[in-house]
Symmetry: C2
C-alpha cells in the first residue's frame, strides 16, 4: 500500500515493475550496504548493521535462556582436518576460499577460510569431552563465514555473510533432537516477535537437507514476489561427526559412547527477508521492534522558535521510555525529510508544527500503510509506545494474511507447475524421494521442496513416480 | 596475597616460580581458552569469551556515546588494494595470511586475510565521501584479525585475535586528534572503571608508533612480573591514507580537501592484562564488574534439606538486582568447590551452612585478598552489591599502588639497564630518536619506550647520543 500523502520517491524502481532491481535499490538507497571493492563481498553499513545488532541482541538472549554459551573458534580450518567428514567436505569444497601463504611461506597444510564450523567444533569437543559429566556442550559463535559464490545478491547470497552458528553435543539422540527443535522455535520467534515475519516451519526433505545431517529443520519465509526464502536451519547431525573425529564419552554405564550432535544458524539473510516481506514502492518498511530508529520527529516550520524545543522535549520523554527516537533538525524541507525517512523504513513519523503545538497535538504517520493519526502531546508517553506495539502486530497480521493467501494444494505436476508459476507455496503429496524432487524441479522450472507439511494420507499416489506418496511438502521457487 | 583458608591448588605453577608457566596454567585451568588444532590459533572458551563480552558491552556503549556507528567490512583485502599505502604494507606484509584459491580456481588478485582494516575503510570512504556534509564518519567494527605470528601466547600474541577497530574521517586535524584522544580516554576508562587496571597513558615515540600513523597514543599496563603490556592504541593518521586512496571532500570553501583520519583498537589482549595484573597462586582473580560470575554460593552440609532452598532464595534475590550469581549445587566437597571457584577468580564466595542459617548469617570470602566477613541474610540485598563495588575499588587501588611503586627515574644508560632488570617502568630523558631507542634496546636487553611522559626540561643532555634531550619517556620491558 503506497503512502499517498508522501512525496513519491522517484529514485527506486517499482516493486512490481522489477522486484530484483527494486530490492537492490532499497538496499542501496536505504544505506543498508554498499558493494565492496572486494568482488562478491559487501560492506555492511551502519543502518544495515544496526538491524543485525537488534537481531543479535534478541537471539543471543533467547539462546542463553536455553543454556547456550558463546565461544569463538579459529576463522580457518586446515585442509587435513576438513577432509575427515566425507559428505560435509563434498558439500562445501566447491565454495572454499583457501589460504596457501602464511608469513611469507608456502603452507604445508593449506587453510580453508571457514564456510561453517562443524569441523572445528568437533575438533574442540574431541579435546574437551571424555565423560558424561562433560555433556551437554551447548556452544554458539557469532562470526562471519566465507563461501565463494559466483552470483551474489546483498544479504541473500554473498561470498561472506554474518551469522551465528550453534554446535552442540548431547548424550542422547532425544536431547539432541530436542535442542534442534528448541532452536527452531527460537528462530520462529525471531520472525514472529521481532521481524513481524510469519515462517513456515518444518523438516527438510532428504534432497534438501544439510550436507552431513540426519535431519534438517527450517524456517521459510514468503517474499512479496511469491518466492520462498530459507531463513534459518537447525540440524540433528547424529553421531557422524563424532565418529569421524573420534569423540567418545564414558557413559553412566561405564561404557564408551559417541555423543549426538546438533548445529543451527541464522544469518544476515534475515535482513533480506525483512526488506522483501515488508518493503514497498517508497522503500524499506521496518517493524518497530527491529527498527534502529522507531520514531522520527519532523519539525514543521522549523524556523518558528517554539518548534524545535517542543520536538526535543518529546524526544527526551520518549527516549527516557527506551523508545529509539530522533529529531530531524536538518535544513531540508519537510517533504524531503518525509521521503528520506520513508525510504529508511522508520515505522512512525511524528510531525509537529506551530498549529499542532497550539492545539497540543501531533500528527502521526504509520510507515507501513500510510495511515495518519492525531496524537496528544500530553499523552505522548502512553500513546507512542502503544502505537508502536500496535504497528508491530498489524504488520505481522498483514504478512500472515499474505502468506495464508499464497498457499494452495495441488494433486499433479501440471497443477504444481502452473501454481508455482503464479508464486507462493504449493502443497503436494509425493513419494519424498530425491529422484522425484529432481524431476519436479526440472518440470516446474526450479520448484523445490521447502519443507515437509505432513505425512501423506495412506493410499495416495505420487504423481511423479506413480509409487505410494509418503509426505505432503510445501513446494516453492526459492531464493 | 594467598588465601590461607582455601585448599591450595596444586595444579598450577607458582606465580613467582615461573610467571610464564603460571600464566599458561591459569589460562588453561580457569578454562579461558584451549589450544586449537590450527597451529598458532586458540579456541576462546565460554569463560574467556564471557569476559570479552563484558568488555564489548562496556566499550560499545561508550563508543556509541561518542557518536560511533558499527559496520562490518570484508575479512579479506585484495593484494592490489593493500599495496596502495607503502608504510602500511611494509609494516604488515611479513605477517600476512594470503588466500590464492577461490571456488577451485587460482585467484588473479590474491586475498589477504585482514590483519587490520585501514585499507578497506579508506576504500569505503572513497566511495562514500564527497562533501563536508558526508563528514564526520565515525565507524567501528568488532571482528577478528589474522597476523601470522611465529611465537604465540594465549590472548597476548596469536595468529588470530578478537578486537574492535575504529576508523574515522574528519574535516579537520583538530577534530581527528580529538577523536584519537577521546577514544584513548574510553580505553583508559575500560581499565579504571571495568578491569580495575590503572594504565599509563601517552603518546608513542616515533620508533614505536603504528605503521602509517602521524601519532599513536597508547595505554600501557604493568604486569605482576614487572613487564609492560601495550593494551590499546589510538592513531591520528593524518591525510596519508586519504591521499593514497584519493578520498577528497568539497569543503565549506567550495574547494577539494583530503579529510583527516583516525583508527583505534583494543583486543582480547585485555583479558591477558586482567590475568597478569590481578591473578595469584590460586589462579585467576576477576574484578566484580567484568566477572561473568560475581558471586558463587557454596552450600555447606548440602544434604541438610533447609540449605539448598535458602541458597536458591539468596540467589534469586541477588539475580533480581542484576548480580551475576550462581549456586554450586554439584556433589563435590565444599573445599573442592572453593578451590575451583578461586581458580576461576569469582570475586566473592558466599558460604551458607545450617549454623549460619540458624543465626541468619552468611560467610563471605573476598577472592582477591582472602578476607573473610560475616554477612546478614536479612540485609543481603544491600550488603552484596555494596561489597562488590568495594572489592572493585580495592582491587583498583591495590593495582594502582603497585604501579606507582614500580616507577623510577634514572639519568643514564647503566641506571636504566639495572632498573629495567628489576622490572617496572623507568623514566629517562633522551633525544627521542629511533636511533637512540635502538641503542637503548640493545644495551638493556630489550627495554623499549612505552610512551612519552613529558618534554625534557631545557638543557638536559641525552645520555645515549650526547645531544639535547627532547622528551622523558617511560621505558620498560614489554610483552
Amino acid at each position: 500500500m503506497a503512502n499517498n500523502n508522501a512525496i513519491k520517491n522517484e529514485a527506486i524502481t517499482g516493486r512490481d515493475v522489477d522486484f530484483a532491481q527494486w530490492y537492490t535499490d532499497v538496499c542501496r538507497k536505504a544505506e543498508l550496504m554498499d558493494y565492496s571493492s572486494v568482488k562478491g563481498f559487501i560492506d555492511y553499513l551502519p543502518y544495515g548493521y544496526a538491524i543485525w545488532e537488534q537481531i543479535q541482541g534478541f537471539a543471543d538472549k533467547k539462546f542463553k535462556e536455553h543454556g547456550t554459551e558463546n565461544v569463538y573458534l579459529p576463522c580457518v580450518i586446515p585442509s587435513s582436518l576438513f577432509n575427515k567428514e566425507k559428505e560435509h567436505i563434498d558439500g562445501f569444497a566447491p565454495e572454499c576460499l583457501i589460504a596457501k601463504i602464511g608469513g611469507g611461506k608456502e603452507l604445508e597444510d593449506p587453510l580453508i577460510i571457514r564456510p561453517t564450523s562443524e569441523i572445528l567444533f568437533s575438533d574442540l569437543y574431541k579435546r574437551q569431552v571424555s565423560s558424561y559429566r562433560d555433556l551437554p556442550k551447548i556452544y554458539n559463535q557469532w562470526c562471519s563465514v566465507v563461501r565463494w559464490e559466483k552470483t551474489t545478491r546483498p544479504f541473500l547470497r554473498g561470498s561472506e555473510f554474518l551469522w551465528q552458528e550453534g554446535h552442540c553435543l548431547f548424550e542422547t539422540e532425544e536431547e539432541a533432537r530436542k535442542n534442534a527443535l528448541d532452536m527452531l522455535e527460537v528462530y520462529d520467534s525471531i520472525g514472529r516477535d521481532l521481524l513481524a515475519i510469519p515462517f513456515l516451519k518444518g523438516r527438510k526433505t532428504e534432497h534438501e537437507k544439510f550436507a552431513g545431517a540426519i535431519d534438517t529443520y527450517t524456517i521459510e519465509a514468503l517474499m512479496h514476489d511469491g518466492k520462498a526464502l530459507q531463513s534459518g536451519t537447525t540440524h540433528y547431525l547424529g553421531t557422524g561427526f563424532a565418529e569421524a573425529f573420534g569423540i567418545q564419552y564414558l557413559g553412566h554405564d561405564n561404557k564408551l559412547h559417541a555423543p549426538h550432535q546438533t548445529s543451527w544458524g541464522v544469518s544476515t539473510r534475515l535482513i533480506g527477508a525483512v526488506i522483501m516481506v515488508h518493503g514497498d514502492d517508497n522503500g524499506l518498511v521496518l517493524p518497530p521492534r527491529v527498527a534502529p530508529t522507531q520514531v522520527v520527529i519532523v519539525p514543521i516550520r522549523q524556523q518558528d522558535p517554539t518548534i524545535l524545543p517542543a520536538c526535543r522535549e518529546i524526544e527526551a520523554k520518549l527516549k527516557a521510555l527506551g523508545v529509539r527516537v530522533k529529531v530531524d533538525a536538518s535544513d531540508k524541507t519537510p517533504g524531503w525529510k518525509f521521503a528520506e525517512w520513508e525510504m529508511k523504513g522508520v515505522p512512525l513519523r511524528l510531525e509537529l508544527g506551530p498549529r499542532d503545538l497550539a492545539e497540543g497535538k501531533v500528527t502521526l504517520a504509520k510507515r507501513y500503510n500510510g495511515e495518519k493519526l492525531t496524537g496528544s502531546i500530553a499523552a505522548i508517553e502512553e500513546e507512542i509506545p502503544a502505537l508502536l506495539e500496535a504497528i508491530q502486530e498489524e504488520m505481522y497480521q498483514k504478512a500472515k494474511a499474505f502468506l495464508d493467501s499464497q498457499i494452495v494444494d495441488v494433486k499433479d505436476l501440471d497443477e504444481l507447475k502452473s501454481a508455482l508459476d503464479k508464486g507462493g507455496y504449493v502443497r503436494m503429496a509425493y513419494d519424498g524421494t530425491p529422484e522425484s524432487e529432481d524431476k519436479i524441479k526440472a518440470y516446474t522450472n526450479g520448484g523445490t521442496a521447502r519443507c515437509i507439511y505432513k505425512d501423506a494420507p495412506a493410499g495416495t499416489v505420487c504423481p511423479v513416480s506413480g509409487k505410494e506418496a509418503k509426505v505432503i511438502a510445501y513446494f516453492a521457487k526459492a531464493y
